[in-house]
């Protein structure tokens, strides 16, 4: 992959929930291999931004281009999406990790991972299973193939969810507070997997409250407040030399706790 074009382009998007503006003129470019951390106070629109990128929310206006393919554009004043089939194809480049894992509880770990590759990508079962086992080993869960999600700890569930996402070979992985539902002592095992991914040049967009992770792993940190991107830069710029008052006070509040 020597392609230098951005993998995600978000241009001037706006998202309303009724009268409430959740995203206001947000633009963002994600380059290949980049790890971006999105931070900001609760309700600032971080999840909404992530969910708009992979079509879990529909934007009101603006443009989103993924891997060179336009998902939505706004020729006049209203956002126009491409066809359902096209949307599914475009979004197959995106993997999503949720705060609450959303594993399929009625399937074993192995089946959770292989189901979509087999059914959506039509990969042979044996091959999908072999790959799933590699992925489970990668997230340090070898031997859990036949376990059901209910029998795993939160940290283990999230790692299975990551393996499930990776099995579809997405070009970008989106994480929405992947460790927020976990006990503090087990967030480390999930963050370690994510760090490994970042080192392997996986493109990642991570909404997180883990400032340590943002500082250490992210190439770029984006600070959101009130539905806008207020500031962005390298971890050093954001954490050591914050410019805006919003960011300064946000950092004071999170670093104090």
């Amino acid at each position: 992959m020597t392609d230098n074009s951005p993998i995600i382009e978000v241009k001037h998007i706006n998202k309303q929930f009724g009268d409430f503006t959740a995203l206001s003129d947000v633009s963002l470019t994600v380059n290949r291999g980049e790890t971006i951390a999105i931070i900001g106070p609760s309700g600032s629109g971080k999840s909404t931004l992530l969910r708009s990128i992979n079509y879990l929310e529909q934007i009101n206006s603006g443009e989103i281009i993924i891997n060179g393919k336009t998902l939505v554009s706004t020729p006049q004043d209203k956002a126009i999406y491409v066809s359902d089939k096209e949307i599914r194809r475009i979004c197959s480049d995106l993997g999503m990790i949720f705060q609450h894992f959303n594993l399929f509880p009625h399937m074993t770990c192995l089946r959770n991972i292989t189901y979509a590759p087999i059914k959506v990508k039509k990969i042979a079962k044996a091959r999908a299973e072999a790959e799933a086992k590699c992925l489970l080993a990668m997230v340090d869960l070898s031997g859990k193939e036949d376990s059901y999600p209910a029998m795993l700890s939160g940290g283990q569930k999230q790692r299975v969810a990551i393996a499930r996402g990776l099995a579809m070979h997405p070009a970008v992985m989106l994480f929405d507070e992947p460790t927020s539902a976990l006990d503090p002592e087990i967030t480390g095992e999930v963050l370690a997997v994510m760090k490994k991914l970042a080192e392997d040049q996986m493109t990642m967009l991570v909404v997180t409250h883990e400032m340590g992770f943002a500082k250490e792993v992210a190439d770029r940190v984006i600070f959101m407040a009130d539905g806008r991107i207020v500031e962005q830069g390298t971890p050093r710029q954001i954490f050591d030399t914050p410019q805006s008052d919003r960011l300064k006070s946000f950092l004071r509040s999170v670093l104090r706790s």
Partner: protein, 223 residues
Amino acid sequence: MSETFDYILLILPALLQGTKIIVVMFFMTLIFAIPLGLPLALGSDSKVLPVRWACRAYVFIFRGTPLMLQLFFIYFMLPIYFGLRIDALPAAIITFVLNYAAYLSEIYRGGIGSIERGQYEASICLGLNKFQTMFDIIIPQAIKRVLPSVTNEMITLVKDTALVSVLGVADLMKNSRAAVNRDGSVMAYLVAAIIYLILNAVLTKLSYRFEDKLSRHEVRCNR
């Protein structure tokens, strides 16, 4: 004591004959109403408005009128107005299937609606289409949640079959009443009650076993 025993033996063949009707009605209703409830459930929440209205109207009619009236309607009115003659037992089975499908569809709808949004979102993000999401992700989870309510319906069904006696079908209810009227003893009712209870005990037992089987993945420990 032995007189009572002899009397029970005397009426038992007729009662068992009546029990057969219950079993037939039960299984026929089960086999057709359980699958029929699903398209009704999905239709009731369909985005295609005419489909939704049709399904909801259907459910409204069959839940909103007495089962006995529906029996009469299909058995007596269809021949009069449409020239369709059906025997009492098939007419009863058709009525029960239509009626139970309506009730079951509402149970299914509740079960499907109770599955967390996150399951749909994970499915979308993995690229599953609507059909795969519904049949491989949502419905298998919903089945477990609706099983107790469906069992409830099945127990009601066993008892509801007694209604066919009003069409003259010789079921357990009709045959026990005949014995009571003929012999002036209520023993036949007592035996009938015990038979109903046995049927429902078997049913309850089976459904518990099925529930266990479905929730195995929540207790089984793999290592």
